[in-house]
Amino acid sequence: MTLPASNMDFPILSVLIFSPLAAAAVAAMIRNENILRWWTLAFTTAAAAFSLLLWQRFDATTAAFQFAEQAAWIPSLKINYAVGIDGISLLLVLLTTLVMPLCVLCSWRYITARVKEFMVCLLVMETAMIGVFCALDFILFFVFWEAMLIPMALLIGIWGGPRKIYAAMKFFIYTMTGSVLLLVAIIALYLKVGSFSIPDMMGRNYPADFQCWIFLAFFISFAIKVPMFPFHTWLPAAHVEAPTAGSVLLASVLLKMGTYGFLRFSLPITPHATHVFTPYILWLSVAAIIYGGLTALAQTDLKKLVAYSSVSHMGFATFGIFALNANGIEGATLVMVNHGVTTGALFIAVGIIYERLHTRDLGQTAGMGKFMPVFAGLLGVFCLSSLAFPGTNSFIGEFLVLAGGFKVSKLMVICAVPGVVIAAAYMLRMLQKVAYGHVDNPDHSRLADLSFREVVTLVPLLIFVFWIGLHPQPFLHVMHASVQHLLEQANAPLAATAVALR
């Protein structure tokens, strides 16, 4: 299949994907640590600004892949270098480029050892992350998908906390084991289709049992990445031990790859199997929402609390996706973006606390908000956003997901709704402790409030909290056509079955 002509006469996606690698090569040659930090910050900011061109030139009226590029890569295996984005991947690419400079900023003082290697790892991560969201060739996708594990494991294993080795090994083994079957599925699809092109693989009527096997292979890989309920155990370990920037990248971008995988591959390539497995996955999502929330409620480690809240939020995302209607999927995509913004911000906030107190224990941090009013205010907003307070971004996303779910099964939605209440409980508990604390608070009176750098780190995310919360239309508009097309692919050949399932 030939991809449509690009919106630009300039290979913008390739530049976005590979320029971080070039920047990493430059960074490897810089000796001075401060210059290194400024260079990485300048580059990632420039990349973020540059990626806004995508937003500006994106044509939201079509579901076709845009800014597409294609070139032969390994002709004997019919592997091409093919990239392009639609409305869904556009948002995730922009999220990635937005988060990157913040990761550099939040590591400014936190990372003091081996700064060069750290920045190189971050930049290599950026290449791999953008590559995953842009790839339109399955092998290209898989290369980025797996290659990302190396810098991420190094980020956790070298700059992480006390149990970093355990966390890095668990993260790597879990995710890589999950994706070995994905590779078999990719090859099996290739042998059916005759090419590795992702658009070529969509919309074909594969035999039912073949679809089910492929779907299961996809599912294991993506469910581990999301992570969905029974596969989530690597997440708290990785989040807790990773340095702040690593946690932010994990939460904001890496978790999205699982849900993105469902949207990009499972639904359009194996629509029949999707309908077969939907009820089970919906129940798993409900379980994740409740389980993640309840576990978060019991945590005293701030990072663990936020990590388990991620499990709960990603449960909403998978719930929306497998609701298989426009509200659900648009809501799920928005939840993905929101979670990237809000949870990223919460991890940065926890990092700020840790830099000052060298502890993340809820009891030890109690009451610090009294002496850090700016911080307490920002933390409050992000906590409210995380519990889906009306007027903030998460409210829109979760509302749409639940609205979509309502059309599928009232029972499931009723089971999921307590998740929102639990979210309010654990977030307000954290906010109340950190901001006000108790009469027997530890003495925090010498703590300095946020520095200019830290404010700059959090403000962009704050803007997005209210922008999406109060005026989500641009974000929904940009993905609308793509979601409609996706739904046609997922539902069209099986309209009858879909009706029966309701």
């Binding site: 002709p75 980025f144 494991a153 090994m169 083994i173 084991t177 070995v180 079957l181």
Partner: protein
Amino acid sequence: MAFLPELVLLAGALGLFVVCLGDHGARRARMTALAVSVATMIACAFCLGQEAVLFDGAYRVDLFSQILKLVFAFGYTLVVLLSGGLDDIREDVKPEYHLFLALSVCGLVLLVSCVDIITLVVALELSSFPLYLLVAMRREREDRRSQMESAIKYMMFGIAANGIMLFGMSYLFGLTGTTSLPVMVEKLRPILHTPLVIAGIAITCCGLLFKLAVFPFHFWTPDVYQGASNETAGVIASLSKIGAVAVLVRFISLASPDSRSLVILLTLLAAVSMFYGNLIALMQKDLKRLLGFSGIAHAGYALVGFVALDNAGYTAALYYIVGYLFMVLACFVVICKVSCDGDNVAMDELAGLHRRSPLLALTLVVGIFSLAGVPPFVGFMGKLTLLSAALAKGHLFLVIVTVVNTAIAIYYYLCIIREACFRDASQRPAIALDGSTRALCVLLMAGILALGVLPARVLDGVSASLTSLNPPVATKAAQR
């Protein structure tokens, strides 16, 4: 002219012999070896497109053999760079070490051109015997003579395997009345499905599976890796395996296009090798032993390509084993440099490598992740081509076994990374690297990355050379 690489190498070996006659020739021998390896590489590159049949049809120079000769010459250069100080070789035999190494490479270079089973056996012996000696040349330690044990073991197994191979060849000769492989192919085709032919081919392959260290011919591997000096183990692990795969291609293609029993046999061997190698590697503490067991598993991966019994599969196997040369040498560079005084390296001696020598740590990370099959390195591309070839022929079971094994192997590879990158050991001294080691590290990493990211030309070249080797049979083309 077509014989130029061999001539250069033989002349070089003679030159090395002369160097051996003088005193204190270690440094001179190394320089000579380096010059010989580079000259051979140039000669191979020069002769790349040539075709010729020499010595009454016993020796054929074609694209297939020339590509592999280039690989051997390049690998030889890498190995010479690797064996810089030869810390663990007895002082008085260092020049001889280089002589025997050159002879072994010479055997390998001859091996890939042989199309007559007599010359083939001679070349195989020429490549093997010097290796037995190299193993024994390790310095003796107090109350430990493990190098002798290893050398004897290696030689016994090697000679036994050769005997079995000759036995198999006697069947093939008896059935066809010829020693020439091209003639044999023609004569075997009508009787391909008789048990005797299958037995003959299978037994013949045993000798090669020994060199490749496939289960159940693997017993020597861990002991020899452990007993031989680090540099020697690097040679045994890399170069001789390429030779084995190349000759295996010639023999297995005797059974093409289709032989059910051979496929079952190869499937079984591949699956057992992978499980055996990977599961036992999980328990290893000595780095060379670990690589030995992982080598058994990788031999199993390479066999996955042979199971397909077509050119796509052979291409994949050759590509994979060439990539393996780079990956495993990358690991051996690190072993050679980390070891103090040429001793064996335990896993925990790697601790803090990322502080002691960042370049070595990076080399190790690239090599190990490539062995584990993580993109964008050659290990991943190789597995992809192997799995595609096998799955195209419907070997789903074997493919699943392979990926399950990939998953198992991740653990022990990651343990190496854990020691090298995640642990800190401030008391261990920094490692100083000389220029040739730095160059070697960069070359190996570049090779691993380039073969992994831009494999198109290599794959096309190997595939084209195989087409000239055994043109696809018409019926098979019709099946497609």
